[in-house]
Symmetry: C2
Subunit: 216 residues, 2 copies
Protein backbone atom coordinates (compact mmCIF):
# COMPACT_ATOMS: atom_id res chain seq x y z
CA UNK A 1 0.00 0.00 0.00
CA UNK A 2 1.16 3.47 -0.83
CA UNK A 3 2.38 5.35 2.23
CA UNK A 4 0.37 8.43 1.32
CA UNK A 5 -3.24 9.14 0.38
CA UNK A 6 -3.88 10.38 -3.13
CA UNK A 7 -4.34 14.13 -3.31
CA UNK A 8 -7.72 15.20 -4.72
CA UNK A 9 -9.11 18.56 -5.66
CA UNK A 10 -11.00 18.60 -2.38
CA UNK A 11 -8.12 17.55 -0.17
CA UNK A 12 -5.54 19.81 -1.79
CA UNK A 13 -4.48 22.19 0.94
CA UNK A 14 -4.97 25.76 -0.13
CA UNK A 15 -4.18 27.63 3.07
CA UNK A 16 -0.69 27.05 4.52
CA UNK A 17 0.05 23.86 2.57
CA UNK A 18 3.28 23.45 4.56
CA UNK A 19 1.11 22.38 7.49
CA UNK A 20 -0.61 19.68 5.47
CA UNK A 21 0.20 16.06 4.84
CA UNK A 22 -1.26 13.05 3.08
CA UNK A 23 0.95 10.63 4.98
CA UNK A 24 -1.01 7.57 6.15
CA UNK A 25 0.96 7.14 9.35
CA UNK A 26 0.30 10.74 10.41
CA UNK A 27 -3.40 10.46 9.52
CA UNK A 28 -3.76 7.18 11.43
CA UNK A 29 -1.99 8.56 14.49
CA UNK A 30 -4.37 11.53 14.68
CA UNK A 31 -7.44 9.35 14.14
CA UNK A 32 -6.25 6.95 16.85
CA UNK A 33 -5.60 9.74 19.35
CA UNK A 34 -9.09 11.27 19.29
CA UNK A 35 -12.40 9.76 20.32
CA UNK A 36 -14.94 12.14 18.83
CA UNK A 37 -15.27 13.15 15.18
CA UNK A 38 -17.54 15.71 13.53
CA UNK A 39 -19.53 14.40 10.59
CA UNK A 40 -20.90 16.91 8.13
CA UNK A 41 -23.50 16.20 5.50
CA UNK A 42 -26.04 18.09 3.47
CA UNK A 43 -29.65 17.86 4.66
CA UNK A 44 -32.26 19.58 2.49
CA UNK A 45 -29.49 21.56 0.85
CA UNK A 46 -28.15 22.83 4.15
CA UNK A 47 -25.14 21.75 6.21
CA UNK A 48 -25.46 19.66 9.37
CA UNK A 49 -22.49 18.79 11.59
CA UNK A 50 -22.92 16.11 14.22
CA UNK A 51 -20.34 14.95 16.77
CA UNK A 52 -20.02 11.23 17.26
CA UNK A 53 -17.69 8.59 18.62
CA UNK A 54 -15.75 6.54 16.10
CA UNK A 55 -12.97 4.04 15.70
CA UNK A 56 -10.48 3.32 12.96
CA UNK A 57 -10.14 -0.23 11.65
CA UNK A 58 -7.33 -0.30 9.13
CA UNK A 59 -8.33 1.95 6.26
CA UNK A 60 -11.92 2.53 7.38
CA UNK A 61 -13.60 4.68 10.00
CA UNK A 62 -16.55 3.06 11.72
CA UNK A 63 -19.22 5.02 13.54
CA UNK A 64 -22.58 4.04 14.87
CA UNK A 65 -25.85 5.22 16.27
CA UNK A 66 -29.41 4.25 16.81
CA UNK A 67 -30.84 2.75 13.64
CA UNK A 68 -33.38 5.57 13.41
CA UNK A 69 -31.06 8.57 13.82
CA UNK A 70 -31.21 11.29 11.17
CA UNK A 71 -27.45 11.41 10.61
CA UNK A 72 -27.12 7.68 10.33
CA UNK A 73 -30.03 7.39 7.94
CA UNK A 74 -28.63 10.09 5.67
CA UNK A 75 -25.21 8.49 5.79
CA UNK A 76 -26.69 5.07 5.15
CA UNK A 77 -28.53 6.43 2.14
CA UNK A 78 -25.16 7.17 0.59
CA UNK A 79 -24.92 10.90 1.22
CA UNK A 80 -21.55 12.56 0.74
CA UNK A 81 -19.88 13.02 4.12
CA UNK A 82 -17.05 15.10 5.46
CA UNK A 83 -15.57 13.62 8.62
CA UNK A 84 -13.28 15.91 10.59
CA UNK A 85 -11.21 15.10 13.68
CA UNK A 86 -9.37 17.80 15.61
CA UNK A 87 -7.00 17.65 18.55
CA UNK A 88 -6.01 20.85 20.31
CA UNK A 89 -2.35 20.63 21.39
CA UNK A 90 -1.38 24.06 22.61
CA UNK A 91 -2.04 27.75 23.04
CA UNK A 92 0.52 29.81 21.17
CA UNK A 93 1.31 33.12 22.84
CA UNK A 94 3.07 35.46 20.45
CA UNK A 95 4.43 38.95 21.08
CA UNK A 96 1.85 40.44 18.74
CA UNK A 97 -1.89 39.90 19.16
CA UNK A 98 -2.06 39.05 15.46
CA UNK A 99 0.27 36.05 15.67
CA UNK A 100 -1.48 34.35 18.57
CA UNK A 101 -2.50 30.90 17.46
CA UNK A 102 -3.24 27.35 18.54
CA UNK A 103 -1.32 24.17 17.94
CA UNK A 104 -3.51 21.39 16.62
CA UNK A 105 -3.67 18.20 14.60
CA UNK A 106 -6.65 17.63 12.33
CA UNK A 107 -7.81 15.15 9.73
CA UNK A 108 -10.46 15.74 7.08
CA UNK A 109 -11.88 12.73 5.20
CA UNK A 110 -14.41 12.88 2.37
CA UNK A 111 -16.51 10.07 1.03
CA UNK A 112 -19.65 8.02 1.25
CA UNK A 113 -20.25 5.63 4.10
CA UNK A 114 -21.95 2.28 3.80
CA UNK A 115 -24.01 0.39 6.31
CA UNK A 116 -22.30 -2.68 7.69
CA UNK A 117 -24.70 -5.60 7.22
CA UNK A 118 -22.40 -8.56 7.88
CA UNK A 119 -22.87 -9.45 11.53
CA UNK A 120 -19.21 -10.44 12.10
CA UNK A 121 -18.08 -7.10 10.69
CA UNK A 122 -20.67 -5.31 12.79
CA UNK A 123 -19.44 -7.12 15.89
CA UNK A 124 -15.85 -6.19 15.02
CA UNK A 125 -16.88 -2.53 14.76
CA UNK A 126 -18.67 -2.59 18.14
CA UNK A 127 -15.61 -4.22 19.62
CA UNK A 128 -13.47 -1.40 18.23
CA UNK A 129 -15.74 1.25 19.84
CA UNK A 130 -15.65 -0.42 23.24
CA UNK A 131 -11.90 -0.98 23.09
CA UNK A 132 -11.47 2.68 22.15
CA UNK A 133 -13.41 3.75 25.25
CA UNK A 134 -11.32 1.44 27.41
CA UNK A 135 -8.73 -1.04 26.12
CA UNK A 136 -9.46 -4.55 27.40
CA UNK A 137 -13.09 -3.80 28.14
CA UNK A 138 -14.55 -5.94 25.35
CA UNK A 139 -13.21 -9.13 26.97
CA UNK A 140 -15.04 -8.48 30.25
CA UNK A 141 -18.24 -6.66 29.24
CA UNK A 142 -21.45 -8.57 28.54
CA UNK A 143 -21.42 -9.09 24.74
CA UNK A 144 -24.11 -7.62 22.48
CA UNK A 145 -27.24 -9.68 21.92
CA UNK A 146 -28.81 -10.20 18.52
CA UNK A 147 -31.45 -7.56 19.42
CA UNK A 148 -28.79 -5.02 20.42
CA UNK A 149 -26.89 -5.62 17.20
CA UNK A 150 -30.10 -5.04 15.26
CA UNK A 151 -30.88 -1.79 17.10
CA UNK A 152 -27.48 -0.36 16.19
CA UNK A 153 -26.64 0.99 12.78
CA UNK A 154 -22.92 0.82 12.09
CA UNK A 155 -21.40 2.61 9.13
CA UNK A 156 -17.99 2.49 7.58
CA UNK A 157 -16.27 5.26 5.69
CA UNK A 158 -13.26 4.20 3.61
CA UNK A 159 -10.18 6.37 4.05
CA UNK A 160 -9.57 7.45 0.46
CA UNK A 161 -9.80 11.22 0.13
CA UNK A 162 -7.98 12.22 3.27
CA UNK A 163 -5.63 14.93 4.45
CA UNK A 164 -4.15 16.01 7.75
CA UNK A 165 -3.07 19.41 8.95
CA UNK A 166 -0.74 20.04 11.85
CA UNK A 167 0.50 23.19 13.56
CA UNK A 168 3.20 22.66 16.13
CA UNK A 169 6.00 24.66 17.70
CA UNK A 170 6.28 28.15 19.03
CA UNK A 171 4.99 31.54 17.92
CA UNK A 172 6.22 33.06 14.68
CA UNK A 173 6.46 36.79 15.26
CA UNK A 174 7.45 39.61 12.98
CA UNK A 175 11.19 40.20 13.22
CA UNK A 176 10.89 43.62 14.88
CA UNK A 177 8.59 42.23 17.60
CA UNK A 178 11.21 39.82 19.01
CA UNK A 179 12.79 42.76 20.82
CA UNK A 180 9.59 43.40 22.83
CA UNK A 181 9.99 42.66 26.55
CA UNK A 182 7.19 40.09 26.58
CA UNK A 183 7.20 36.39 27.42
CA UNK A 184 6.20 34.27 24.44
CA UNK A 185 5.83 30.56 23.94
CA UNK A 186 3.39 27.69 24.09
CA UNK A 187 1.07 26.47 26.80
CA UNK A 188 0.56 22.78 26.05
CA UNK A 189 -2.99 21.45 26.09
CA UNK A 190 -3.83 17.80 26.52
CA UNK A 191 -6.83 15.62 27.17
CA UNK A 192 -6.34 13.78 30.42
CA UNK A 193 -8.36 11.25 32.36
CA UNK A 194 -9.23 11.58 36.03
CA UNK A 195 -9.86 8.99 38.74
CA UNK A 196 -12.70 6.54 38.03
CA UNK A 197 -16.13 7.36 39.50
CA UNK A 198 -17.82 4.14 40.52
CA UNK A 199 -21.46 3.51 39.66
CA UNK A 200 -23.54 3.35 42.85
CA UNK A 201 -24.75 -0.17 42.13
CA UNK A 202 -21.28 -1.73 41.86
CA UNK A 203 -20.41 -4.19 44.65
CA UNK A 204 -17.71 -2.79 46.94
CA UNK A 205 -15.32 -5.68 46.30
CA UNK A 206 -15.02 -4.87 42.58
CA UNK A 207 -12.00 -2.84 41.57
CA UNK A 208 -11.98 -0.19 38.83
CA UNK A 209 -9.92 -0.88 35.71
CA UNK A 210 -6.55 0.83 35.69
CA UNK A 211 -7.29 4.37 34.56
CA UNK A 212 -4.91 5.39 31.87
CA UNK A 213 -4.59 8.16 29.37
CA UNK A 214 -6.37 6.94 26.31
CA UNK A 215 -4.89 9.63 24.16
CA UNK A 216 -1.49 9.01 22.66
Amino acid sequence: MNSAYIQSERTRLRRRPQRGTYDRETVHAILDAALVCHIGFVADGRPLVIPTAYARIGETIVFHGASRSRTLLAAAAGAELCLTVTLLDGLVLARSAFHHSVNYRSVVAFGRATLITDSDEKMAALRAFVERIHPGRWAVARPPTAEELKATAVLELPLDEVSAKVRSGGPIDDEEDYALPLWAGVIPVAITTGGPIVDERVASNLKPPRSSLFMK
Copy 2:
Protein backbone atom coordinates in the same frame (compact mmCIF):
# COMPACT_ATOMS: atom_id res chain seq x y z
CA MET B 1 -34.22 38.55 26.59
CA ASN B 2 -35.85 35.18 26.70
CA SER B 3 -33.84 32.67 28.71
CA ALA B 4 -34.15 30.04 25.98
CA TYR B 5 -33.51 29.92 22.24
CA ILE B 6 -36.52 29.38 20.04
CA GLN B 7 -36.88 25.81 18.87
CA SER B 8 -36.82 25.40 15.09
CA GLU B 9 -37.46 22.44 12.85
CA ARG B 10 -33.70 22.05 12.47
CA THR B 11 -32.84 22.35 16.15
CA ARG B 12 -35.65 20.14 17.39
CA LEU B 13 -33.93 17.19 19.02
CA ARG B 14 -35.09 13.96 17.53
CA ARG B 15 -32.79 11.47 19.22
CA ARG B 16 -32.92 11.37 23.04
CA PRO B 17 -34.64 14.75 23.47
CA GLN B 18 -34.21 14.44 27.25
CA ARG B 19 -30.52 15.23 26.68
CA GLY B 20 -31.29 18.42 24.81
CA THR B 21 -31.78 21.98 25.91
CA TYR B 22 -32.38 25.40 24.42
CA ASP B 23 -31.37 27.18 27.60
CA ARG B 24 -29.13 30.19 26.88
CA GLU B 25 -27.06 29.82 30.02
CA THR B 26 -26.23 26.18 29.21
CA VAL B 27 -25.41 27.03 25.60
CA HIS B 28 -23.18 29.95 26.64
CA ALA B 29 -21.34 27.85 29.23
CA ILE B 30 -20.50 25.18 26.65
CA LEU B 31 -19.40 27.75 24.08
CA ASP B 32 -17.21 29.48 26.67
CA ALA B 33 -15.56 26.25 27.78
CA ALA B 34 -14.29 25.14 24.37
CA LEU B 35 -11.78 26.80 22.08
CA VAL B 36 -12.29 25.03 18.77
CA CYS B 37 -15.51 24.73 16.80
CA HIS B 38 -16.32 22.79 13.64
CA ILE B 39 -17.94 24.81 10.89
CA GLY B 40 -19.82 22.95 8.21
CA PHE B 41 -20.97 24.41 4.94
CA VAL B 42 -21.91 23.20 1.50
CA ALA B 43 -19.27 23.63 -1.21
CA ASP B 44 -20.29 22.62 -4.74
CA GLY B 45 -23.18 20.67 -3.28
CA ARG B 46 -20.93 18.70 -0.96
CA PRO B 47 -20.26 19.05 2.76
CA LEU B 48 -17.06 20.54 4.14
CA VAL B 49 -16.26 20.68 7.86
CA ILE B 50 -13.41 22.90 9.03
CA PRO B 51 -12.10 23.26 12.60
CA THR B 52 -11.39 26.79 13.75
CA ALA B 53 -10.88 28.86 16.87
CA TYR B 54 -13.75 31.09 17.93
CA ALA B 55 -15.02 33.30 20.71
CA ARG B 56 -18.48 34.21 21.94
CA ILE B 57 -19.39 37.87 22.34
CA GLY B 58 -22.86 38.07 23.83
CA GLU B 59 -25.25 36.49 21.37
CA THR B 60 -22.76 36.12 18.51
CA ILE B 61 -19.93 33.75 17.70
CA VAL B 62 -16.93 35.36 16.05
CA PHE B 63 -14.38 33.42 14.06
CA HIS B 64 -11.62 34.53 11.75
CA GLY B 65 -9.09 33.49 9.20
CA ALA B 66 -6.97 34.72 6.38
CA SER B 67 -9.03 36.91 4.07
CA ARG B 68 -8.48 34.47 1.21
CA SER B 69 -9.43 31.22 2.92
CA ARG B 70 -12.05 29.05 1.23
CA THR B 71 -14.17 28.62 4.36
CA LEU B 72 -14.14 32.27 5.18
CA LEU B 73 -14.99 33.32 1.67
CA ALA B 74 -17.93 30.92 1.50
CA ALA B 75 -19.12 32.09 4.90
CA ALA B 76 -18.66 35.70 3.92
CA ALA B 77 -20.73 35.12 0.80
CA GLY B 78 -23.64 34.30 3.05
CA ALA B 79 -23.60 30.51 2.86
CA GLU B 80 -25.67 28.59 5.38
CA LEU B 81 -23.44 27.36 8.18
CA CYS B 82 -23.69 24.76 10.89
CA LEU B 83 -21.32 25.47 13.77
CA THR B 84 -20.80 22.64 16.23
CA VAL B 85 -18.84 22.64 19.48
CA THR B 86 -18.21 19.45 21.43
CA LEU B 87 -16.57 18.81 24.78
CA LEU B 88 -15.80 15.25 25.82
CA ASP B 89 -16.38 14.86 29.57
CA GLY B 90 -16.09 11.19 30.33
CA LEU B 91 -15.84 7.57 29.26
CA VAL B 92 -18.85 5.60 30.43
CA LEU B 93 -18.06 1.98 31.22
CA ALA B 94 -21.23 -0.09 31.41
CA ARG B 95 -21.64 -3.77 32.28
CA SER B 96 -22.80 -4.52 28.73
CA ALA B 97 -20.74 -3.64 25.66
CA PHE B 98 -23.90 -2.14 24.15
CA HIS B 99 -24.38 0.49 26.85
CA HIS B 100 -20.83 1.85 26.77
CA SER B 101 -20.99 5.54 26.02
CA VAL B 102 -19.31 8.89 26.41
CA ASN B 103 -20.31 11.90 28.46
CA TYR B 104 -20.24 15.09 26.45
CA ARG B 105 -21.63 18.60 26.05
CA SER B 106 -22.31 19.89 22.56
CA VAL B 107 -23.85 22.91 20.89
CA VAL B 108 -25.15 23.11 17.34
CA ALA B 109 -25.87 26.54 15.83
CA PHE B 110 -27.33 27.18 12.39
CA GLY B 111 -27.31 30.41 10.46
CA ARG B 112 -25.53 32.72 8.10
CA ALA B 113 -22.44 34.62 9.15
CA THR B 114 -21.60 38.14 8.12
CA LEU B 115 -18.26 39.78 7.61
CA ILE B 116 -17.41 42.35 10.26
CA THR B 117 -16.46 45.53 8.45
CA ASP B 118 -16.54 48.04 11.30
CA SER B 119 -12.95 48.32 12.55
CA ASP B 120 -13.92 48.78 16.21
CA GLU B 121 -16.04 45.64 16.06
CA LYS B 122 -13.25 43.82 14.27
CA MET B 123 -10.80 44.89 16.97
CA ALA B 124 -13.23 43.72 19.66
CA ALA B 125 -13.43 40.32 17.98
CA LEU B 126 -9.64 39.98 17.77
CA ARG B 127 -9.45 40.96 21.40
CA ALA B 128 -11.93 38.22 22.25
CA PHE B 129 -9.80 35.61 20.39
CA VAL B 130 -6.61 36.60 22.16
CA GLU B 131 -8.31 36.75 25.56
CA ARG B 132 -9.75 33.30 24.90
CA ILE B 133 -6.25 31.93 24.26
CA HIS B 134 -4.96 33.56 27.41
CA PRO B 135 -6.95 35.92 29.66
CA GLY B 136 -5.09 39.19 30.16
CA ARG B 137 -2.95 38.75 27.07
CA TRP B 138 -4.57 41.52 25.00
CA ALA B 139 -3.35 44.19 27.43
CA VAL B 140 0.31 43.16 27.01
CA ALA B 141 0.57 41.95 23.40
CA ARG B 142 1.53 44.30 20.58
CA PRO B 143 -1.83 45.47 19.16
CA PRO B 144 -2.85 44.73 15.56
CA THR B 145 -1.77 47.19 12.90
CA ALA B 146 -4.09 48.48 10.18
CA GLU B 147 -2.43 46.03 7.72
CA GLU B 148 -2.97 43.09 10.05
CA LEU B 149 -6.60 44.02 10.55
CA LYS B 150 -7.02 44.16 6.79
CA ALA B 151 -5.40 40.74 6.26
CA THR B 152 -7.84 39.12 8.68
CA ALA B 153 -11.41 38.32 7.79
CA VAL B 154 -13.61 38.20 10.88
CA LEU B 155 -17.11 36.81 10.71
CA GLU B 156 -19.95 36.81 13.15
CA LEU B 157 -22.71 34.25 13.43
CA PRO B 158 -25.74 35.31 15.47
CA LEU B 159 -26.92 32.76 18.03
CA ASP B 160 -30.53 32.27 16.90
CA GLU B 161 -31.14 28.68 15.89
CA VAL B 162 -29.23 26.94 18.63
CA SER B 163 -29.50 23.81 20.72
CA ALA B 164 -27.31 22.01 23.22
CA LYS B 165 -27.08 18.35 24.07
CA VAL B 166 -25.56 16.94 27.22
CA ARG B 167 -24.92 13.44 28.45
CA SER B 168 -23.71 13.18 32.02
CA GLY B 169 -23.72 10.64 34.81
CA GLY B 170 -23.06 6.95 34.99
CA PRO B 171 -23.89 3.97 32.80
CA ILE B 172 -27.48 2.91 32.30
CA ASP B 173 -27.49 -0.86 32.10
CA ASP B 174 -30.28 -3.33 31.55
CA GLU B 175 -31.73 -4.38 34.88
CA GLU B 176 -30.49 -7.98 34.67
CA ASP B 177 -26.91 -6.84 33.99
CA TYR B 178 -26.51 -5.03 37.33
CA ALA B 179 -25.90 -8.42 38.96
CA LEU B 180 -22.79 -9.03 36.81
CA PRO B 181 -19.55 -9.00 38.83
CA LEU B 182 -18.03 -6.17 36.77
CA TRP B 183 -16.87 -2.70 37.79
CA ALA B 184 -18.86 0.01 36.04
CA GLY B 185 -18.73 3.77 36.18
CA VAL B 186 -17.23 6.83 34.56
CA ILE B 187 -13.66 7.80 33.81
CA PRO B 188 -13.70 11.60 33.70
CA VAL B 189 -11.98 13.30 30.78
CA ALA B 190 -10.82 16.89 30.87
CA ILE B 191 -8.71 19.24 28.83
CA THR B 192 -5.79 20.40 30.93
CA THR B 193 -2.89 22.75 30.36
CA GLY B 194 0.73 21.88 31.01
CA GLY B 195 3.71 24.01 32.02
CA PRO B 196 4.58 26.85 29.62
CA ILE B 197 7.27 26.16 26.99
CA VAL B 198 9.28 29.31 26.46
CA ASP B 199 10.15 30.50 22.96
CA GLU B 200 13.91 30.30 22.42
CA ARG B 201 14.20 34.01 21.67
CA VAL B 202 12.63 35.19 24.94
CA ALA B 203 15.04 37.00 27.30
CA SER B 204 15.77 34.92 30.41
CA ASN B 205 14.49 37.59 32.82
CA LEU B 206 10.93 37.43 31.41
CA LYS B 207 8.50 35.29 33.34
CA PRO B 208 5.73 33.20 31.77
CA PRO B 209 2.13 34.20 32.46
CA ARG B 210 0.47 32.16 35.17
CA SER B 211 -0.63 28.99 33.39
CA SER B 212 -4.18 28.19 34.25
CA LEU B 213 -6.86 25.86 33.06
CA PHE B 214 -8.70 27.80 30.42
CA MET B 215 -11.55 25.32 30.38
CA LYS B 216 -14.30 25.73 32.93
